[in-house]
Each structure stands twice: as C-alpha cells, then as structure tokens.
C-alpha cells in the first residue's frame, strides 16, 4: 500500500477533470446498456428492459457522486471551488471589499508593529543565563517618593558588598555613560564605553562570541588595559574582522588589547556600550568620600538555593553593619529609610524605559483593532444578510447547513487572508518607523533590531478572523434554522431585516461609537496636556538657540582632581571667542550641560547652614551647572535678584554661586538669599544671585532646583563642554561654521550640533508622543465608525426601499423620510456616545496619572469629544438619509 501512489491518483482529477468525467460517463453508460441488453436477452420488452436496468444498476448521478468521493480529495475540491466563488463575490462588491481590506490591513498592521515593539522592549525575557537569578544591587530609600525601587550605587558601597555579601555567586560593577575616543586608521570615533569589574561576566553567564572576557587574574598583573568589544561595534567599525582578538586598539591615550567580542544584542544592565574595559577603583573612590556618588550600577547573580528575599535580608544586615561602623551616617540614613536593596534585573531595566508610553500605545492600537473588527463584522452582517435568499435556495436544493457554513467560512477566511497579506507592508512600515520615533536606540536594553513577533501576529489574525466568522455566521444560522418552505415564502415579499439582524447591526454601530469616543477623549486630554506644557514654557528661551556639544576627554584635557583647569579653561575661552566672532552669532556661552537635555542628569546634595529639615523631608539636591558669566543672558533666563557670575570670580577667589529661585524660597525664606552661604562639595559658597526655575531635564526625569558655579573655581565635573549660541540663523546653516570654529581650536574635537528647540521637543516627548498617537488612532477610529454607521444606514434604506416607496406614495413629505432615517442614525449615535462617556470616566482617571498637567484631564473634554463624535457620525448619516428621501416611489414599489 503506497500512500504516494494513492495521493497521486487522487490528485489527478484536479488537472484532468474533463477527461476523467467523460470517461466515467461513458463507462457507466456502457454498464447501463449492457444491463439493458441482458434484460432484453432475458425476454423483457425494450421499455421494460430499460427501466429494469435503471432499477438494477441504481441511480447514475448518485453513483457518480459516490465515485467522486473516492476519486479525488473531496474537501480540497470543495475548498478550491469555494475560494474561487469567494473571489468572485469579493470582486462583485468592490466597495465593501476595499473598505474591509483596508480596515483589516490598517488595524492588523498597526497592532502587529506596536506589539512587536512592546515585546522587544518590555516583555522579552532578558538574554542572560537563568536571567531570573540576576538582580540589580543598589541603594533603596524607602522614605522617599521612589520607595522600594532600587537606585544607583556608589563605589565604596559596592566594594563593601562585594567583600561581605554571601548571598551572591558573583557581583559586578558597571560604570556606564562614558565615552572614549577610538583612534582607527583614517577615522576618530567617539564611542560609548562602560568600565566594569570582571564579576559582571559571571553574573551574565553569556559566553563571548569569539575570544574571552577579562577575569580577575588578568587585572592582578599588568595595567589592565584590556577590552571586550560589542558585536555591533565589531561588525560596524571593524568589519567583523576575526583576527582582532589579541590586537590592540587605541582608546583615548592608551592602547588596549582586545580580548574578545560579545554576541549580538548583548548589553549589561540595559546600558548601551560599544566596548567594555576593566574598572579600576581609584583611592578616592575606595574612600568614604565617594559614598555619596550614587551614579553607578551593580549587578549580581543569586547563589543556588538563595532566594531574593534571603538576599534582601542579608543586604539589610550589611547596611546595619555599615551604620554601626559609621555612626555619623545613621541619622540621614534613618530619615530617608536608606538600606541596600536588590531587585530582579528585568524589572529594573523596564522601569527606566518609557514603559508606560509604550503600553498606552499598545492599548490604543488594540482599541482601534476592536473598532476595525466591529466595522468588518458589521459589513459582513450586511452583505451576508443580502444573500439570505441565495442560501435558502441552496438549502432547498440540498446543500447541508455544514456545506453552506463551509462556503461562508471560506469567503471570510479568504477576505482575512488577503487583509492579512495587505497588513504586512503596514506593519513593516510601522516597525521601521516606530523605533526611531521613540528614539529607542538610546533606551532599548538589548540593542537588537525589533522584529516581528509572529505568534502575536498569528494570534491577532486568529482573533479578528474568529470575530469575522461569528459575524458572518449569524444571519446564515438563523436562516438555516427555519423551515425551508416558510423561508422561501417569506422571501416572496421583501421583508425588512429580522429583529435579530437589526439588533446585531445596531449593537455593532453603538459599540464603535463608544470606542471612538473613548479614543477621542484620550486624544483630547493628552493634546491639551501638551498644549499647556508648551504654553507654560520651561524657564529658558527656546527659539534661536543652537547647542554644540564638544567632548573634552581627560586624556587630552586633564581635569581630574588635583589637576589645574588650565587646558579646559583656555579651550573654553578660545572657543567662546571664536564662536562670538562668527557672523550671525549674537551671543554665546558655555557650560557642562544644558537645560532640557538628558546629558549628565546627576543631582548633587547641598546644605544650607541654619536650615532644619523636617522629618522625612527630601534631601536637598540640585542640578549643577558649571558656567561662565553671561550664561543666563544667552539662555534668556531672568535674573531675579543679585548679580550674575563675573570674570572676577576666579580660581583664587571665594567660591560664588547663583541659585534657582526654589532654593532661595525654601531654604532661605527669611531675609535675602543673596549674601547667604551654601555648603557644596565640602566648600562654603556665597550666593550672589537668584534666577528663575527651569526645566533641567526631560519631563520623564524628575526635575529639581539648579545651582550655577563659576567654571574657573571648580574642577570639571563632566568631560563635556556644551556651548549655547544665540543666533537668528537656523541650525543646519550654522552647524558647519560652528564645528569649524571649534575644531580650529582643537582639531581632534568631536562636536555634535543640535538646537534648544530640538531639545525641548525631546524633553516633552513622553507627553507629546501619547498625544500624537492618540490623535492618530482617534481619527482612524472615528473614520471607521463613520463608515460603519454609513453602511448600517445605507443597508436599512436599501431594505426599506419598498416601505419608503409606499410611504411616499401615500403622501408622506420627503423631509419626513429624511428625518426617519436620521432619527435611526441619531438614536444609535446617542446610545453609543452615552456608553462612550461612561467608559471614558475611568480612563480619565488613568490618564491623569500619566500626564504632567493634571488639569488637562477635566471632564469637559468628554463633552467636546461627544460633540465631535456626534457631528461626524451625523454627517455620515446624511448621505443615506438624502438618498432615502430621493427615492422614486414608482421604482421603489416595483423593486424587490
């Protein structure tokens, strides 16, 4: 028994149908004739012989059918026939088909893209070995707003944990957000790098792609000038040169030996680094001086058999030990509820990515998918109902409900498969565009490109398909249940749709209206939020300011503790001179960071002598600007009291600071802040001026006060100089000139130019993105809803044409017909709007927690959204209503 032979045999009819059928007919005809001949020979009369033969042999057609069951693959035949039929049907109703396909493509495409993104960024499990055993170690300040969330760690704290903690099989330290100059033949690159302790490799447990990683032994001897490369760096910059292992790279002013390359997508604690070098702790970092430098990450792997809870307990004990050894730290620690903590790494990474934004995008996409599905379902109900007659007839001719059902299912599936195919370009476009929209290269923890998450795509298609099948099945099911004769009789008079159909259709429209309203509300709230934010301003002038960032790596500029600032200061002065001399430049200044940016977002503690903090109060922290005279003027910040920094505030003078208004108000409420003292970094500084509050960092970061130091009086806090240039010319025009000017002072400088306006856009991104997205989705949903209502009303009108004709013939005025149709539409819209309003109320509450301007989530948005929905939907209803009122009674009465 050969299955292939059998299969081959059964596939033949698909290719040689005609021939096979003819032969069969001939064969069976021959059989009949032979039987007739036999009967004749037995003595029957010719007519009798023929009838007898028919009886004896059985029915030809039934025999043929049974034979066909054996000859070919029946279900495949039926399927192909159904698909062809489906194709014809779809082509016949071109309009409906086009709308359905477009809706499907849009909804499925968008959803797939969004979810693939969400999965890649938020849900995909961390690619470390046994990643649920990997935790992030750091400080926890339970009494502060961020509660139990693990924060950064400082070097002495890490070293303490590394030495004493028993719960971990390995611990590692990561100092990220650093950059080095990589000197390659023909190019100089500035690359993000992280310095790490060898323990990180054991924590991650990911073997390198080639070569090896540095271990403790490598650092015991030698200078530890070793490097492990990331896959992306190796591929892009070194062309995947396998011989790189063992060769040397020039980083800054040193040469490092390349030990290995990590696999694609690898990262440590979600920090983007192009290569990893060993971390060597300086004596200062080992000492208690650096206890407050909470700017680093530590990761650890739990020992086998140790639970997270047990580890946390041990950490608490270790912190206690620390406090016992350093009693002076006890009080501030108690005030803030400080201790050491650990949290699963994936949770920690997620909290730093724009998780809520992505989830809300996903929610909006799902809502649109729902609206789309409802739309399609509604359309399907309409078209299927129109074919009730066809189905009833076919039922009468012998088609089983199963057969009819199969045909209907095939049509729906064909439609959805086509729609799914169309969705692919939409989804690909979305996948291509979304990551850059969210600026994900910066925040993506894995460094891999976002790929299609096929299981989700298949699931979405499945769900949509299920909804479509259900919708298409309802009318057919109701028809096939009725007695065939009665059904046929009922069709003799063209009736209006059965109650059930009408109710289903109405329900769909109402649901769509409600969903569209919910989306509109979300859009309205988020838009108003952004409007207010932008209107309020951020304390700095945003227009006409260009920002140029120049890296001042220590190996060229010095600037470490104990170093004179000579090189840095001279560079800054020269650069400013050159910039101010450029045509079109009205003003220029320099600092170590610029407001609204995510650069160097570190906050530092300070003290105001004489100020008694209340129990449980947040510590005094501030952003720090190391700047020159004229900074406020260039940035358009108002000087409220006192004076700006002056050239006279030099290195040997008393340290002076300008503070932001918040500091003056809170810590020096009595008397004048100007002239008071402030303790910063162990030095007593005199406050000489007060300026207005500004937005120091992007909105998703926490804002705080700011203090402004005189650049000459402090060692460089950050190895970057940020120039702000006020000019009327656009950034693109000035960019080349600015870069040239800066590089004329130092040819090795790497400069990046942007504008304050651009920074502002990025800063509000977490607020503006939801608004844009919600707006987009709301528009789509509204359009779909309008289409849905239009379809429903048009269908009603078409069905009731006869009735309308009768009414008109009996003297009803045309406006009355118009009103009748509009009333139906209005009824549906109002019910939908009411439901939508109800659904939006909890939504308002949820959104309020996400936005900054809480005022924007006031309930009057609901009224506005409802108004918009009703207007749009009303317009959608006008067309069918007008068509109804224009019906010619003569034609209508004769039609079916």
């Amino acid at each position: 028994m050969n299955p292939f032979r059998s299969l081959f045999f059964r596939l033949q009819p698909f290719f040689r149908r005609q021939k096979i059928e003819t032969e069969l007919s001939e064969e069976m005809q021959a059989h009949l004739e032979m039987q007739t001949a036999a009967n004749l020979a037995a003595g029957m009369a010719p007519e009798e012989a023929r009838y007898a033969a028919r009886r004896q042999c059985g029915g030809i057609d039934q025999a043929k059918e049974s034979w066909r069951d054996e000859r070919s693959i029946r279900w495949l035949e039926d399927l192909l026939r159904d698909v062809r039929h489906a194709g014809r049907q779809l082509a016949k109703h071109r309009g409906t088909t086009a709308v359905t396909l477009l809706t499907l493509a849009l909804c499925l495409g968008v959803n797939s893209a969004v979810f693939s993104l969400v999965y890649a960024v938020l849900l995909r499990p961390y690619p470390y070995t046994e990643s649920n055993r990997v935790v992030n170690l750091g400080m926890v300040w339970t009494k502060l707003p961020w509660g139990e969330m693990v924060q950064e760690i400082s070097p002495p704290a890490f070293l303490e944990l590394e030495g004493s903690a028993r719960s971990f099989a390995a611990v590692g330290f990561i100092a990220a957000d650093q950059k080095v100059d990589v000197r390659l033949p023909g190019q100089m690159l500035r690359v993000p790098v992280a310095s790490v302790t060898p323990g990180v490799w054991s924590v991650a447990g990911v073997p390198p792609l080639i070569g090896r990683c540095f271990q403790a032994q490598d650092l015991a001897f030698g200078e530890g000038k070793l490097a492990v490369l990331s896959y992306e760096f190796w591929r892009e910059t070194l062309n995947s040169d396998r011989t790189i292992v063992g060769r040397r790279l020039r980083l800054d002013d040193g040469t490092y030996e390349v030990l290995g390359v990590m696999p694609a997508g690898f990262s440590l604690a979600g920090k983007q680094a192009r290569l990893w070098i060993p971390k060597v702790f300086s004596p200062a970092e080992r000492s208690e001086e650096s206890r407050g430098a909470y700017a680093f990450q530590a990761i650890a792997r739990l020992k086998d058999g140790v639970s997270l809870e047990q580890a946390r307990q041990e950490l608490k004990v270790l912190h206690e030990n620390f406090l016992a050894a350093h009693p002076e730290a006890r009080e501030p620690a108690q005030q803030m509820g400080a201790t050491y903590g650990a949290a699963p790494l994936s949770t920690w990474v997620r909290s730093r990515v724009a998780g809520s934004t992505l989830f809300s995008v996903q929610a909006a996409a799902v809502l649109v998918l729902l609206v789309g599905c409802l739309n399609i379902a509604g359309l399907l109900v309409v078209t299927t109902h129109g074919r009730v007659r066809e189905f009833t007839l076919r039922g009468a001719l012998g088609a089983t409900p199963a057969r009819l059902g199969r045909q209907l299912a095939t049509e729906t599936v064909t439609l959805f498969v086509l729609g799914g195919a169309l969705a692919v370009p939409f989804a690909l476009a979305g996948l291509h565009w979304l990551p850059s929209y969210f600026d994900l290269e910066q925040t993506m923890p894995y460094g891999q490109s976002v790929q299609f998450h096929w299981p989700f795509v298949a699931a979405t298609l499945g769900v949509a398909l299920g909804a479509g099948l259900l919708a298409a099945a309802l009318p057919v099911w109701s028809v096939t249940r009725r007695d065939t004769t009665r059904a046929l009789q009922a069709l003799g008079y063209h009736t209006t749709a059965g109650r059930r159909q009408n109710r289903t259709q109405s329900a769909f429209v109402v649901a769509q209206v409600a969903l569209a309203l919910v989306l509109l509300t979300a859009a309205g709230v988020t838009l108003r939020n952004v409007q207010r934010l932008l209107g309020k301003g951020f304390g700095v002038a945003v227009e006409n300011r260009i920002v140029a960032r120049a890296a001042l790596p220590p190996y060229r500029y010095g600037g470490g503790p104990g170093d004179t600032q000579a090189k840095i200061n001279s560079f800054k002065l020269q650069a400013l001179e050159k910039l101010r001399a450029l045509p079109g430049v009205q003003d220029a200044t320099v600092s170590n960071r610029v407001p609204l940016s995510a650069d160097w977002p570190m906050k530092f503690g300070f003290e105001v002598p004489g100020y008694e903090p209340a129990p449980g109060e947040q510590p005094a922290i501030t952003f720090v600007y190391q700047t020159v005279p004229g900074f406020f003027r260039t940035l358009g910040m108002p000087l409220l009291r006192g004076r700006d920094l002056a050239p006279a505030d030099g290195a040997d003078q008393e340290p002076v600071v300008v503070v932001s208004e918040q500091i003056a108000r809170k810590y020096l409420p009595h008397g004048d802040a100007v002239g008071a003292t402030l303790q910063f970094f162990g030095r007593a500084c005199r406050i000489v001026g007060v300026v207005g509050e500004i937005q120091n960092v992007p909105l998703s970061y926490g804002n705080a006060a700011s203090i402004y130091l005189a650049s000459a009086q402090w060692p460089a806090f950050h190895d970057e100089a940020v120039f702000v240039i006020r000019t009327g010319l656009p950034a693109q025009v000035m960019e080349a000139a600015v870069v040239k000017a800066l590089q004329s002072v130092d040819p090795l400088l790497s400069v990046q130019v942007t504008s304050v306006a651009q920074l502002q856009r990025s800063a509000v991104f977490t607020q503006s993105a939801p608004a844009q997205i919600a707006g987009f989705f709301a528009t789509v949903a509204l359009l779909l809803t309008a289409l849905g209502l239009y379809g429903a009303l048009a269908h009603t009108v078409a069905q009731r044409t006869r009735e309308i004709g009768i009414r008109l013939a009996l003297g009803a005025p045309r406006p009355a017909i118009l009103r009748m149709v509009l009333r139906r539409g209005a009824g549906l819209a109002l019910v939908g709007a009411a439901l939508g309003v109800l659904g939006s109320i909890p939504l308002l509450r949820t959104i309020q927690s996400l936005i900054v301007e809480k005022e924007a989530a006031r309930a009057d948005v609901l009224l506005l959204a409802a108004g918009v929905v009703l207007v749009v939907v009303g317009l959608a209803g006008v067309l069918p209503a007008r068509r109804a009122s224009k019906v010619d009674p003569m034609i209508a009465l004769r039609s079916e």
Partner: protein, 110 residues
Amino acid sequence: MAKEKSELLQGTLDMLILKALQLEPMHGFGLSVRLKQMSKDVFQVEMGSLYPALCRLEAQGWVKAEWGVSDNNRRARFYELTAAGRKQLQAETTEWELLSSTINAMLRVT
C-alpha cells in the same frame, strides 16, 4: 433473497471484487454479473457501490484499468488484477478466514 440488497462492508466488497477478478479481467457490468453468480444471487451490487470500490482498488494499485472492447463490440473499461493485487487478495483471504472461523466458533458456544 433474489433481489435483496444486503449491505456489504466496504472492505469486504473490495476483497470480493479482487477475488472475482482472479481468473480474468472484466468490465464493470461483467463484474456485477460475476459477483451475483458467485454469491448465488445474494449480492446484487449497484453502480453506486461497484465503481467507488473499483476506484479504491485502482488507487491502491491492486487493479489496473484499460479501455477495451466488450463482447458486443461496446467500448468498456476493463479491470485486471495486478501482482500486488494478487498478493493483497491472498492476505485478505487468510485474514478473513481466521476472523470468520473465530467468530463462528464464538457463536457456537452456548
């Protein structure tokens, strides 16, 4: 019993057709006559059972079919046992004999 149509299991009919073709190739009508003859008029196989069965047999490669000319110069399709068909007939006969003797024995037990 003359024209009573008994229901035959599909598989059994297939086996009987193979048996009927053992001696010589036949066309459909001839087969139905032969089956009637062999069963002493018990089995009167209609076209609706015969041709599907022949189709099955052909699909499995146990019979092969060719167009030929019948006794009264009528074009007809003749079915012939293949070598594989003969083997299959042998196997099924043995199986049937075992089965039927077992069942018979069971039915005779009081």
